[in-house]
């Protein structure tokens, strides 16, 4: 009986997470498909293939976006197909979850201003370092 209740709770929680995330996921994917038709030619100008500048731009984009990580994987995966460098996508995926500019007021409210600012700054720098390390390691293997 207890197990049944827990299973129901788990299903409801999962449905709730999905339900809350799908409108954001669909919106972003719809917008990406629209912007891709306009912006395809400009991607190569913005993302030059430079390890540092590409990861920095990717990290900035991810910092201002939010949602559950799966959305960033899908968005990142689709942008990768459009020719954006893997390093930019990796930084984007990293900051999507670990840096939250939009969520900063909420994080400050519950965890303290100093904690929130320090954590977001450190995470931003770490995201760029991890993006560079991941792509370099991937090239080695």
């Amino acid at each position: 009986m207890n197990k049944e209740i827990n299973l129901k709770k788990a299903i409801f929680k999962s449905v709730d997470t999905m339900k809350g995330s799908l409108p954001i996921m669909f919106s972003i994917l719809l917008l990406i498909n629209l912007f891709n038709l306009f912006g395809k030619d400009y991607y190569s100008k913005i993302f030059s293939g430079n390890l540092i500048s590409d990861s920095f731009i990717g990290a900035i984009a991810g910092s201002f976006s939010f949602g559950i990580p799966i959305t960033s994987y899908i968005v990142g995966g689709e942008l990768l197909k459009e020719g954006i460098s893997l390093i930019a996508i990796t930084a984007f995926i990293m900051t999507w979850t670990t840096v939250g500019v939009a969520m900063l007021p909420l994080e400050s409210k519950y965890l303290g201003k100093r904690f929130a600012i320090t954590r977001n700054l450190v995470n931003f720098i770490f995201s760029i370092i991890i993006a560079v390390l991941t792509v370099v390691t991937l090239r080695i293997f």
């Binding site: 409108p23 909420l106 904690f115 450190v122 770490f126």
Partner: protein, 168 residues
């Protein structure tokens, strides 16, 4: 309260996106149509992966609850606390606007800043979402990135706690 505000935002974003499509369609119908068809074909590709994600999500929600995390990350968790913070960050899912109040409550009960930082950093390694990452980026990328995230989460915890009020 925050959850309601967030749901509102996601609905607003979706309606705003539909509005943008409608405006584009008025000026250039074929462009909006092409973008929408591309979106649909993208959706068809990702639906099976989303189903797998949903099933794994149910199992993680069933066995790894917030209460368990609270128990293992408490005041006297010691070195084990770091390990549990990593595991909890990887396993427990939920958007930030749900997690922050929970973490705030845990902090008031004595959970250290370092462990909260480790927990939040590891949110990027999500077991239910791993099939999607492998689908788009490959197994090697997924393993390498996950290892780096887990390693850097420890450094993250040390640095954040050093600069915030609550020491290690």
């Amino acid at each position: 309260m925050e959850q309601r505000a967030k749901i509102k935002f996601s609905t607003k974003l979706f309606l705003g996106t539909i509005l943008i499509y409608l405006i584009v369609a008025v000026f250039n119908f074929s462009l909006a149509q092409e973008a929408f068809i591309n979106f649909l074909s993208m959706l068809v590709r990702i639906i099976p992966v989303l189903l797998i994600v949903f099933i794994i999500m149910i199992f993680t929600n069933l066995y790894f609850t917030k209460e368990r995390a609270n128990k293992y990350l408490g005041k006297n968790s010691g070195l084990k606390g770091w390990f549990y913070a990593m595991i909890s960050g990887i396993i427990i899912s939920g958007p930030p606007y749900i997690l922050y109040p929970l973490l705030g409550e845990m902090k008031r009960k004595g959970v250290k800043d370092s462990l909260i930082a480790v927990f939040l950093f590891n949110r990027n390694v999500k077991i239910p979402f791993i099939p999607v990452m492998i689908y788009y980026f490959g197994l090697n990328f997924t393993i390498i990135l996950s290892v780096y995230i887990v390693f850097f989460s420890i450094l993250n915890g040390v640095i954040v706690s050093k600069f915030s009020s609550n020491k290690i």
